[in-house]
Symmetry: C2
Subunit: 221 residues, 2 copies
DNA sequence: CTTAAAAAGCGTGTTTTTTCCCTGTGGAAA
DNA sequence: TTTCCACAGGGAAAAAACACGCTTTTTAAG
């Protein structure tokens, strides 16, 4: 069991202050957990980090100004790999899930989770080292979960930078011709990238792609 | 000033337990406010209402199972119009804003608001009777805000049931032909409805429409 | 009630965009 | 070598977007 004298120190990084301060008081109500850091974004958090008072777990939102969840997870992985990272996002993280895993992220939780799930996730990360919600779907996560193929299929399942950029640019009124221009590619190549995404994401049309992209917070505002 | 002996009673209706219990403790930290009801959806809330202990303000999420925010606002407007309703949604509410206003809703707030905004919104509703965040955009809200035309333009700005249904059905891989079949309309009529929505929502393509629909939580999961 | 105006619905047709074939090259990796 | 894959091409069918016009229904006004 955890030591009651020195509670687990949790950091919260999220620009949605309403939700953040709310989650903070929820975590403080958990036995043996205590929120010791609160920040509006990655930069703010990184700058406030004090050696000797490092948190045990950092709860990160993905979409933040200045320094987002991806960047913060990378930085933590490089500088303080002993700190566990739990992603708490508004969106699914399927599309960039493998990227985040490579950055050492220990778990994922969506903001519409139950309070008990958050507590369970925190405990699971401490005890087993990881927590993966089973509320995800889609080809990618299934590939990952069923462990079909080691590293080769993971590369297949993972979206390339190009594919991500294409997805992002697709979330607009732009035609493929315009997207091709922006990406310095031939329209035919765009065809190939699109078809590849149709397969990877189980979509049948651009509208389908855009919906998946938005559910994953890929779109730019 | 508000009476400190009898605090303002607030009800919270939201199926995102994590966020809800979090917001509850936040509101309880506000001076002269107290959360007296918590429910996972409209039905649960309505059934738990006890005469003599009615809340002063109900904070409603829009997307809930069993009985959603629209339905709950309607019911409250019909049965307990003395209770003020504040919509606290994950999404923009532009598309159905006027509908909600007609149901007597007193204010709107998005979940990514600052904590201080929530407090301000609650106080504003008590003192002035309403609170409208200025973080909304789009043709509809601007029409409403600038007061261009009294009731005629409001009808124009408001989306019809048909338009809403079309928007919802557009969020899929369906072709317009299939949507026309589902709505018992000719494909040409679908053209008209689409073009009308292009105008009302400042969109230029179906992808644009779908993005607006998703930002407003119109899509079915 | 009558009439004008507005809107909703539907038709024909055209242009643009999207989607889907199948093919081929050049480079990197097995 | 052989295999894979990013990239690119031609061609064609389907879907989306746009134009114009013609009824019927609804609404508003006199």
């Amino acid at each position: 069991m955890t030591n009651e004298v020195t509670p687990i120190k949790v950091a919260l990084v999220d620009d949605h202050v309403l939700v953040r301060s709310a989650i903070a008081s929820l975590i403080n109500s958990f036995e043996s957990f205590k929120v010791t850091y609160e920040a509006n974004n990655g930069r703010e958090f990184v700058e406030s980090l004090t050696v000797g008072q490092l948190p045990d777990i950092v709860i990160l939102d993905l979409n933040m100004p200045e320094m987002n969840g991806h960047q913060t997870a990378s930085w933590l992985n490089d500088n303080y790999s002993e700190i566990s990272v739990l992603i708490l996002s508004e969106y699914d993280s399927e599309l960039t899930l493998i990227r985040l895993l490579q950055k050492g992220v220990k778990g994922f939780l969506k903001k519409d989770a139950q309070a008990s799930e958050l507590k369970f996730a925190l405990q699971a990360i401490l005890q087993t080292g990881y927590f993966y919600s089973n509320h995800t779907n889609g080809k990618i996560v299934n590939l990952f979960r069923t462990g079909q193929g080691g590293s080769v299929n993971l590369q297949k399942a993972m979206l390339s930078d190009q594919e991500l950029q294409f997805l992002q640019l697709s979330c607009s009124d732009r035609t493929y011709k315009e997207i091709a221009l922006l990406m310095n590619l031939n329209v035919r190549t765009i065809d190939t990238i699109r078809d590849q995404l149709f397969f990877k994401l189980d979509a049948k049309s651009r509208v389908g792609l855009v919906m998946i992209a938005m559910k994953n917070g890929i779109h730019t505002y």
